[in-house]
Amino acid sequence: MKRYIATIKLTVKEKLSGGLLALYASYAFRLFYLVPLLYLWRGLFQSGVVSEMTLPQMLSYTYISALLTEQLNVRTPMSGWLSGDGFINACKRPTHILADFTAQTVGGWLQTLLLFSLPLALAAPLLGVPILPKTIWFLPSLLLCVSLGFAIDFIFACFILRLKNATWLAYSIRMAVTYLFSGSLIPFALLPWGIGNWLRLSPFGSLAGAPLAIFTGIEAPLPLLAAQLFWNLAIWPLTILYFNKSRERMVSHGG
């Protein structure tokens, strides 16, 4: 465990090495996205539309989604743009490869949680956004979401490398997952024609959409947790199998 903590520490320091200005420039873009979105929902809900959700629930959903965006839609360096180098480096270390990438990912999260999410969480009352969960079941749901997120990301990474580094392809599919299939931006409850019911059943529906729905109390927690557990149990063995089959290609990647 010490080895992984060392990797986490180093990743945090690496992220902090560029100076505050550059770090906050990146956070500023997140705010540029979040603030207009909050006002968009306010405008829509105050115009008198009938919905399954209340305005505070919707604001809370959007806010938490922005605060925990990296945890709700996990992206590891293994599926990133530099997968070839990163993979070979991970192979050279006396650590488990998937665990090493997990440590690198968690290290990357910490500075954002500290410098962006925490201040924003404290500022939530000023913006009139409730940020306390409706039920404590949110925490196990978030853990299952993160676990499933890692499993799906590792599958993406193997897929990229089998396709000779087609990172753009993975990026596009991931966008689809993030912005529609996972429910991180638009709650399934708001989608027309029952589309949300179908998406909720997919493995992607057990990512962001599930903990956010539990957090805001728009859906009953236990069925969602059961679905999350099911997808974790179903996908992790597939991930490990696919990873083991793809390992050699990853090492030889790059010629």
Binding site: G18, A22, P36, L40, G84, D85, M175, Y179, L190, P192
Partner: protein, 283 residues
């Protein structure tokens, strides 16, 4: 390089990159087709989310669902043009080239930098999927709206796209210039800009508070890349006013981006790059 020579080289280079793109698609058809499909799926998901919401609530942000559909189509065309003209070799994502210390690869070419940046990202075949999808969505929306399309309107559609692209690229180059000073931290800043632009530009800004509306059309002019041009094209905003705003914004944005980029380049020439990453270069 004189103007005549500049344009001669410009078109020759476009032709060269078009041939290279064609060669790439022919030799690597499987990946290319999957790539086009993935672009299509990815961007459509961003757009369809907003459309589904508009459909569910009978409109959003002061636009009905068909108008929202047109705006989303316009957004897809903007994205498509981005993919065709500057997506290759990270020319659009210039912060990656700067941050990874790869400007040296540009500086050894006996071409003006602006000519390289104008042409090296050109992928007219493999990058075209989104453009066709966007045009189709616009067509469907206009048909549902029973909107009269004239030659003048088409010219306006083209002009507004040129202005939208100038504004978008200026935003990206302005932010990317930070990578000259902060290569590690700002290496992916152009991706941040693009992500925010792609996703936020899908939302109609009509019901937002005035302060926010002004900010999104001036400080961070995302509203000018899709929302305002869509209003102008749908006749929901006065043509002279809308066009004047777009022209002024494009000029100011291009000026700011060029100035900061040149300043950054001077800084690069002074300090060089202490960082070099070989990945991503022409991959």
């Amino acid at each position: 390089m004189g103007a005549k020579d500049f344009f001669r080289r410009l078109f020759r280079l476009y032709w060269l990159y078009a041939k290279m793109d064609a060669a790439w698609i022919m030799r690597d058809t499987k990946y290319c087709l999957i790539g086009i499909l993935a672009d299509f799926i990815g961007n459509l998901s961003v757009l369809s989310g907003v459309f589904l919401m508009a459909e569910r609530f009978g409109g959003v942000g002061g636009m009905n669902s068909d108008e929202v559909l047109f705006m989303l189509g316009y957004n897809a065309v903007t994205t498509g043009l981005f993919l065709i003209f500057v997506n290759g070799n990270n020319i659009g994502n210039i912060s990656r080239i700067i941050g990874r210390g790869q400007m040296d690869h540009k500086l050894i070419q006996p071409l003006p930098l602006r000519l390289q940046l104008l042409t090296e990202g050109f992928m007219p075949i493999s990058g075209s999927g989104q453009l066709w999808a966007g045009l189709a969505v616009c067509g469907v929306a206009l048909w549902r709206l029973q909107y009269p399309v004239t030659v003048g309107w088409i010219m306006l559609f083209i002009l507004s796209h040129i202005l939208s692209k100038i504004i978008l690229l200026s935003m990206m180059y302005f932010a990317s210039s930070l990578a000259f000073w902060f290569p590690v931290a700002a290496e992916e800043i152009s991706t941040d800009v693009l992500d925010v632009q792609w996703h936020l530009s899908s939302y109609p800004l009509g019901q937002m508070p005035m302060v926010l509306k002004i900010a999104l059309n001036t400080v961070v002019p995302i509203g000018l890349t899709v929302w305002l041009p869509s209003l102008v094209l749908l006749g929901k905003q006065r043509l002279d006013f809308g066009l004047a705003i777009l022209l002024i914004a494009a000029g100011v944005a291009a000026f700011c981006a060029t100035t900061l980029f040149k300043k950054g380049l001077k800084h690069y020439e002074k300090i060089g790059s202490q960082r070099y990453k070989d990945w991503g270069h022409r991959r």
